[in-house]
């Protein structure tokens, strides 16, 4: 069982790592955001954003920031799960965890 769990975790991590590289093999075209913007500009010819304040991020900067959000999310999830399990053990010691 232990080996199966380990294999499943490694397999899941490899899958997650490999999936974003798929666009290098196949051209998926524009993302949803760009498609929406293009469609808006097709329906209302020449429509441009009327307000913009954020500087344009390079691909690297964007990648890093999204990765940071994911890391923050995972850290929060793991942290709160630990706290929940600890709280449960303290307040419901008889219950399986």
């Amino acid at each position: 069982m232990k080996h199966k769990k380990l294999i499943a975790i490694i397999g899941g991590v490899l899958l997650l790592i490999s999936v974003p590289y798929l666009p290098r093999l196949v051209d998926f075209g524009e993302g949803t955001d760009d498609q929406a913007v293009t469609l808006v500009q097709n329906i209302h010819k020449g429509y441009q954003a009327w307000f913009s304040w954020a500087p344009e991020l390079t691909d690297g900067q964007e990648s890093f920031r999204f990765a940071a959000q994911i890391a923050l999310g995972i850290a929060l999830f793991v942290l709160f799960l630990r706290k929940i399990l600890k709280y449960k053990n303290q307040h419901e010691p008889g219950q399986p965890s």
Binding site: I17, V37, A49
Partner: protein, 250 residues
């Protein structure tokens, strides 16, 4: 046991940090709603947000574990809303994680959690926007949680098995965000005059989103089901969560 889990969680986090990420948020981009519409959606969304804050303050005074589960839901939404996955028709799009949070802590907390995630992305990732925050909050953090909540209860009444119920709730909860976004864009950018103009525009936006999001909604359904099933097996659920109430009735 907890140490191992924590270590594995950190390992996952590091692996995901290494993924090349070009984020393409699902939200309406900055400045792409006309000012009148942007203001309208803000006026609609902010009463929900204010009540959500009041609700959370009231709830968190009752039990510490409620706060902890809200943190857990927030973490899940943070991860899923930033996880870039290539989709069939577009280069990337995102999941939401909203159904997971709704089934765990209810709809009202998800309004504030969704606002935090959207603000984070608007300010730090240049995705979504401040002018379009009201519209994005409405689609992702108001419509999706409340519809997901209702869907779960409906399927419970129809005696749908729990794992299937969770999957369908997460699947449709993900899609609702895009249906609402399509409606918001159609209202702002009708393709022609009269009702047919709105309908045509809605069809175009919804069709574009559907091709991209359908496979991702399946992924979200699977991830949500696996995660919630894990919490169920560990007997780790808030007592007043939809899932806990379902299990008590079963």
């Amino acid at each position: 046991m907890q140490k191992n889990y924590f270590t594995k969680g950190i390992a996952w986090g590091l692996c995901l940090c290494l993924l090349p990420q070009t984020g393409m948020a699902m939200h309406i981009a900055e400045g792409f709603l006309p000012p009148a519409w942007a203001l309208s959606w803000h006026l609609i969304a902010w009463p929900f947000i204010i009540y959500s804050v009041y609700y959370l303050r009231k709830k968190s005074k009752q039990q510490l574990s409620d706060k902890l589960f809200m943190g857990l839901a927030g973490g899940f939404v943070f991860v899923l809303s930033a996880l870039k996955l290539p989709s069939v028709a577009g280069s990337s799009s995102h999941l939401t994680g909203i159904a997971f949070g709704t089934l765990l802590v209810g709809s009202w907390p998800m309004v504030l959690i969704g606002l935090i995630v959207l603000l984070f992305q608007a300010l730090l990732l240049a995705h979504g926007g401040l002018t379009t925050l009201g519209a994005n909050v409405f689609s992702m953090a108001i419509a999706a949680p409340f519809v997901s909540y209702g869907l779960f209860l409906l399927m419970q009444k129809l005696r749908v098995k729990l794992p299937v119920n969770i999957f369908i709730t997460a699947f449709l909860g993900d899609l609702i965000t895009y249906v609402v976004t399509s409606g918001q864009l159609a209202l702002a950018f009708p393709d022609g005059s009269g009702a047919s103009g709105y309908a045509l525009s809605f069809g175009k936006f919804a069709g574009m989103f559907a091709v991209t999001q359908l496979p991702l909604a399946v992924v979200e359904g699977i991830l949500t089901t696996i995660t919630l099933q894990y919490l169920i097996r560990r007997n780790t659920l808030p007592q007043d969560s939809l899932i806990a109430k379902y299990l008590r009735k079963a």
